[in-house]
């Protein structure tokens, strides 16, 4: 008798769950279980720290092979960067003077806070990380999250003491970008495993290793932050646009500390 009841119970369970999900899709995700998020985050943070520590040991001691060679290369790289830095300083002075002459406003990024990554998404469906700062630290939805290397994503959901950051590689993510050289604009969309640059016409001269920076047109990411570089271009015969793959400057699987910024004071007030 009980054996026959099992499929019925199973069916009832599915019907209840479907009704609940329908309700959530209409009225927003349930907050009923949010009280469990803090202990889960704490355990995740501990887990992440253990993993990070173990990875650090492996990287520090096992991958020491080849460090000398890498050191030589880096020294040569530093020398080249030093020379480039000097040219940049010159260009900045020149730029400041020209802006003054043109009477343009200085486009400054506003710093909100810095945070540490405490956990990663547990599934393959979303590319997101959790940070240890939340609404109590002034974080609001749609604030940009960056590292010194480049953009990593935007704040997607804010809790009292933590926030979920959706990474630029997530399918729900898109950024307005511009080629650093040609100044041509496009949109980078997440493609789960990487990034895709969209709406670049077939006749546009995009090259491998071209650098893309934020254009500021989306009003989420401040202007001029490095995003990534082009690693693959496919020009299809009949399509309007090129298929372009982009690799982010920041390795999205090894993010530790991040900075939350907004493009303007208006954006701080606009955040939810």
């Amino acid at each position: 008798m009980f054996l026959k009841k099992r499929p019925i119970l199973f069916a009832v369970f599915i019907i209840i769950l479907f009704s609940w999900m329908t309700y959530q899709s209409l009225h927003g995700p349930s907050r009923f279980f949010n009280f469990l998020l803090t202990p889960i985050n704490l355990v995740q943070k501990a887990g992440y720290n253990v993993y990070d520590g173990a990875r650090g040991i492996i990287q520090d001691y096992i991958f020491l092979v080849g460090v000398r060679e890498e050191n030589k290369k880096l020294k040569a790289h530093i020398a080249r960067l030093e020379s480039e830095k000097n040219s940049c300083i010159e260009a900045t002075y020149e730029n400041t003077n020209l802006k003054k002459l043109l009477g343009l406003k200085d486009n400054k990024t506003i710093y909100v806070t810095s945070a540490t990554v405490i956990a990663r998404d547990q599934t393959n469906w979303f590319n997101s990380v959790f940070i240890d700062k939340g609404s109590s630290d002034g974080i609001k939805n749609d604030m940009a999250v960056i590292t010194p290397t480049g953009v990593i994503g935007r704040v997607y959901k804010v809790f009292a003491n933590s926030a979920r950051v959706i990474l630029i590689s997530d399918v729900n993510s898109s950024i307005a970008v511009r080629f650093q050289g040609s100044r041509l604009e496009g949109i980078i969309q997440g493609a789960n495993t990487g990034l895709q640059l969209k709406y670049i016409p077939q006749d546009t001269d995009a090259k491998l290793n071209d650098i893309l920076i934020t254009s500021g047109m989306d009003d989420i990411y401040p202007k001029g932050i490095p995003v990534g570089y082009i690693t693959r271009i496919i020009k299809k015969g009949s399509g309007l646009f090129q298929y372009i793959e982009v690799t982010p400057f920041q390795n999205l699987s090894s993010i530790e500390h991040v900075v939350i910024v907004v493009p303007s004071l208006m954006a701080i007030n606009r955040g939810r």
Binding site: P29, F33, I40, G47, Y48, F159, T193
Partner: protein
Amino acid sequence: MITLWLLALFLVIAFQGSIRAFGTIPDITILMVYAYGIRNGELPGMTFGAAAGLLLDISSGNLIGPNLLGKAIAGFISGSLRRRVFQWNMLLNFILITAITAVDSTVVYLCLINFLNFPASFYTFINPIAFQSILTGALGFLISPLILRGLKEGLKTR
């Protein structure tokens, strides 16, 4: 005993996101659901799967339900296998876990596009789903002792 299983589940969920192989997160949670279902039958398997899915849904900070449903179905199927598998071996274990992971992922994907307007096409996710299923299936050998014990107990109750 159930406390130990729940504690292990909590730890697995804490660590799972940090473990990546070839860019994919192996679904260790489903290994636990599968093992629990085989050891305890349909309804306990479904309940344990639902608990695992609920924790995953809460930790994602999103819609509560997709993982809950997927893992509950996986637990129910695993529980029903307890009375149906006659000759268990490693290959069968691999095939069953791969299939159950694929079912779970498909259920989650369908829930996300229906209830969360998930913007990605199935094509975007077919490769990760397939790869994750095979990877999880391959990791199935880790739980072989648990499965063997569960099947022996299942034979007694048949």
